[in-house]
């Protein structure tokens, strides 16, 4: 007995595309070859052809009335808003929200810096290392050594100092490392001042935007919005 799927290897979609002349040439040739030998598929194709012809012959209906638009039905077509227009469309409320968000982000960055990796944090961790370094020699969570620390360690290694000495530095070296005279501390300080400046500006912007918003709200009932 022959496998029916072998007898009808083409899909209904192929028959439909064939009717529209949209089947690729090679597949079209295969389909025609199959149709020549397969009466059920020929009948299916003829059925689909009758459907398509029937649909194409459906009467076209005249519009029962004019759908022309009257001026009172329409407003001017919506213009896709430019970026600046979109931004101003939010008004003072949007500006206040943006300023508040900026303020929060800046304060968050400032706090994060203090907790996670700022100069103060370095000092705190170094103090910890001084206190516990002898008992916990690895202290792998300590921050990467500064260039000054690296050069000091290298110098000790070159001088033949044992590694354990570098891990547990002498108390006399520590104060010098904790307050390095280099530019890193000054840069950190300057950065902090810039950050504070931005925070202050964002705070002022927030207050101004809120004030404008309150004035607008107070003026709204009397004005017609124009």
């Amino acid at each position: 007995m022959r496998n029916p799927f072998r007898r009808h290897p083409l899909r209904e979609e192929d028959l439909s595309a064939y009717l529209d002349g949209r089947l690729p040439t090679a597949r079209s040739a295969r389909l025609e070859e199959h149709l020549a030998a397969c009466e059920p598929c020929r009948q299916r194709l003829e059925g689909l052809r009758a459907v398509v012809e029937g649909l194409r012959a459906l009467p076209s209906m005249a519009a029962p009335r004019s759908f022309a638009l009257r001026p009172e039905q329409v407003t001017s077509p919506a213009r896709p808003m430019a970026w600046a227009q979109r931004a101003s469309a939010f008004g003072p409320a949007g500006a206040a929200a943006a300023a508040a968000l900026l303020f929060i982000v800046l304060v968050g960055v400032d706090l994060g810096t203090m907790r996670g990796g700022g100069p103060e944090a370095v000092e705190t961790e170094k103090a910890g290392a001084q206190a516990y370094g002898a008992e916990v020699p690895g202290l792998s969570a300590a921050p990467a050594p500064t260039p000054q620390e690296r050069s000091a360690a290298d110098a000790q290694e070159e001088a033949g100092a044992p590694a354990a000495t570098a891990e547990a530095p002498a108390p006399a070296e520590a104060p010098a490392e904790a307050t390095p005279p280099g530019g890193a501390e000054e840069e950190g300080g300057a950065g902090r001042w810039v950050l504070r400046g931005f925070q202050a500006a964002a705070g002022v912007a927030f207050l101004v935007a809120v004030a404008v918003l309150i004035r607008q709200r107070r003026g709204a009932p009397g004005s017609d919005g124009r």
């Binding site: 689909l48 459907v51 649909l55 005249a62 519009a63 004019s66 638009l69 077509p77």
Partner: protein, 200 residues
């Protein structure tokens, strides 16, 4: 794909500048196609009129967003959306059952065709009634694909643009819609003439 004709392009440009008279020239040119699409999707006149009016209002207020290539496909997409919205609205609060109106007094199939004799006209009317009932029995996505392709005569590419679908999806929907119509007519289609009668 059929690009926007030069005259349409000029009218679209004027409409984008707010020229309502120019837009109404486009309405005159396309209202037949839009109304036909809505009617085939919805099945009766009142709903089709509402959807057609909504489609032109939406087209005018969004005309500045039209970027081409085919104004017709863009407009028919808006019309298809309007018809789908109207279909949903009427299903939520049914006033006239859609299927009940097929073949009723408000169907355009009652329009006399002066070129046909009385017998042929009666036959066509019956075929049209049956086909419209079969169309309304299709899922909405297949109905839209078949109407755009076989009733409105859009190419696969234009149907894809009007439906916002890929070419593969368009082919599949048209094929499945036609297959369903064939099965529907096989069950009810004794009225088709022998040359057009679907067979198994």
């Amino acid at each position: 794909m059929q690009a926007t004709a030069p005259e349409d392009h000029r009218l679209v440009t004027l409409s984008q500048e707010g020229d309502l008279a120019a837009f109404n020239s486009l309405v005159d040119a396309y209202q037949g196609q839009v109304y036909n699409l809505c009617w085939r999707m919805l099945g009766f006149r009142e709903a089709a009129e509402d959807a057609t009016q909504e489609a032109f209002l939406a087209a005018y207020s969004n005309i500045r967003r039209f970027r081409g290539p085919s104004f017709r496909a863009w407009l028919l997409r808006i019309a298809a959306n309007a018809a789908t919205d109207e279909l949903r609205r009427r299903r939520r609060r049914p006033q006239v059952p859609l299927e009940a109106s097929v073949g009723g007094r408000d169907t355009a199939l009652d329009l006399p065709d002066s070129s046909a004799g009385p017998e042929e006209w009666a036959l066509r009317r019956e075929q049209g009634r049956l086909l419209q009932a079969a169309l309304l029995a299709l899922p909405a996505d297949q109905r839209l694909a078949v109407v755009l392709s076989d009733v409105q005569g859009l190419s696969y590419e234009e149907v894809g643009e009007a439906m916002g679908s890929s070419l593969g999806t368009v082919k599949s929907r048209i094929s499945r819609g036609r297959a369903r119509l064939r099965r529907y007519l096989l069950e009810k289609g004794e009225l088709l003439p022998p040359g057009q009668r679907p067979t198994q």
